[in-house]
Symmetry: none
Subunit: 210 residues, 4 copies
DNA sequence: TATGAATGAGGCTTCATTCAT
DNA sequence: AATGAATGAAGCCTCATTCAT
């Protein structure tokens, strides 16, 4: 094996470990709440020393943001893959399903973002996060605009439709987790179908009062 | 002044101070985030000693929940006042407006509830909180049922409509706060009208695909 | 009723309340440990205000010492009553029985005395406590001396016999409370008889190695 | 130096520091009373940070119990070393001397055990403490049984003799510390000899009233 | 005289981060 | 590069005592 190969492999292993740390951190955060999870717990579960974590990430806040970035990139992938699809509804449906499917994770990220922003921590990463979201937005906006042009969606600024969808998805994620509301819904699958249906049609033309 | 009057006044002043503490706490929590606000900061701003806070509330968690209770009781008042109204839509509209009007507060409470529940703290108060919510629910449900009977709303379990509305309101509250989405909406009032309109009609009969 | 009578009665009620406070304090201390019992708890159980306690006693430490004084005075009463008795052994036996009979109380006082002395609190009361003990000592010493003269007890300084008896009684009190040792003794009454017997005879002449 | 050696040395140093902390804690507890000694004071005297203490011990209570464990293990060592000795009295004499020799320490532990048990803290360590005591007991019991068989000790359950000895030793330890009794004994050594002698013979056959 | 709200010093504990090895 | 012992700021909470009414 050449030195180059060795170096390459080392870099690869380093990245691999990074991913592993993030995976473990996410699991623990979801399980116990980010406040109860210490850096040491993460290190222990990965099987490395606490100091090693700090070779990969500057602060705990950085871990938070990197997890959010991963999430947003997954979302970007979905957009990418579906882009070409002719089905005008699939995108919206996928978007909702992805966002609602793992509400705990989404809620976690929501909390984390608020916390990190409040502390003005890792501003460059936050910047990057917002850039990716912007990009994802562009995709959404294009779809919306097309559907408005076709006369399917009410002709308001596209951002209105997007934000409304975002709000419903966000609220739905919270709903799923709420122990209070949870116990009042018997057939969860049926309800989710109902909700998604509403989400998809709620901005349709002719749906609001004339 | 009789002894009784004195005692009554003292009780009144005690309650007054309690309210004052809660007001200050809420302001600080909204302003700086509950984690950054220490009990001492609250005491300082009220102009009392740290220990005095603990004459009124057992723990910081109790302050959290009492704030949430106040919120939910305000909501109950709204329901009470509107109850008799004939206007089938007013209730829903008021509900949305109240919930969306102060999103920061709502988000705060959402975070607090999750935190308190995770720590299994002050379970009796949490219990009480949920009881009040249950009561508020009953009002909502009655309206929904009436509108379904009139044939205005799609005939699914009323809870579906309620939860969907809850989700949209919750998501809307979050949306308003999101620094990211915020900067993309120019005419906020117009958008809120759009959103509330959607909220009110989204479960209307005949709106979903046949 | 004359003013004098009124005043007398008031004084009497005041003393009565004082006794009541001490009774309640003792009960609570024995039950929950002096550290866990707050002045407020005592006031609540007596049914008076916290401030009232401080009309009767300067500090919590004073309550401690007054309880110890009561104990030592009870002991003095025993000595008084038995004084005239001819039975040379009764006194010693009574002494042991009294001391051992309520080990929890004795242990409490032991702890309290150490605490108060360590803090150099209420030195006059501590002084008084020691004076009463001295007086009780005199009684004990007289008996011991008489028995030595009769040739029943080994002829060492009387204080030796007294201290040894004190030590055994003290240790016995601790023993009774020890959860560890407690479970190893089946017939407690039988053991106490054995112990008292040993206590009474342990300094008898001719019992030590020649 | 190999990595293994390094690791070994590091472990050794860690244990060493642990011992150091316990030593300092004991000194301070004996000197000023456990309640007046804060964790910070211990850290300061050892010359380390407050947080470091918590790398070694979970709570202040754990420090308490570990000190007690050390004491009980020293006792076990004494038993171990003397085990083979033929001298039937040496064990008892050693036991008494050890227990009485450092009364302040013994009293401290007694207080600590009561406190820790009352708070239901570190139950596993308390469990372990009791196990060691049980083991020490077995040694004592064997000796006692042998002496009963030889006809030297009164034939009552061996536990009676043990508990009586325990009580006397415990009481003697308290006695030595009592500022009150202390000033009445002039020749302390002579008295201790007397006491130990009594301790050793007090259960001898034929000593109780026929 | 009785009250009880107010006080604030002081204790224990947590944990993100640093740095010498 | 990896480690993990050390750090110390910071937070929550307790409670004996005071004092104005």
């Amino acid at each position: 094996m050449t030195d180059l190969e060795k170096a390459t492999r080392r870099v690869h292993e380093f990245r691999q470990r990074e991913r592993e740390i993030l995976d473990v951190a996410l699991t623990l955060f979801l399980d116990q709440g980010e406040d109860r999870v210490t850096v040491e717990m993460i290190a222990d579960k990965v099987g490395i020393g606490k100091g090693t974590i700090y070779k990969h990430f500057e602060t705990k806040n950085e871990i938070y943001v990197l997890l959010m970035l991963r999430y947003e990139e997954e979302l970007a992938d979905i957009f990418e893959r579906i882009q070409e699809s002719d089905d005008k509804e699939t995108l919206a449906r996928e978007y909702f399903r992805f966002r609602i499917s793992d509400p705990k994770r989404y809620q976690l990220f929501d909390r984390l973002e608020q916390k990190v922003i409040k502390e003005h921590a890792v501003p460059e990463l936050i910047e990057k996060l917002h850039r990716i979201r912007d990009a994802n937005f562009v995709h959404l906006r294009r779809i919306i605009e097309a559907r408005i042009e076709e006369g399917n969606l009410e002709d308001v600024p596209p951002i209105y439709h997007i934000c409304t969808a975002w709000a419903l998805a966000h609220g739905a994620a919270a709903l799923m987790e709420s122990p209070f509301y949870q116990r009042l819904i018997e057939d969860k699958d049926d309800f989710v179908d109902f909700l998604i249906d509403i989400g998809i049609r709620m901005g349709n033309r002719g749906q609001r009062g004339k």
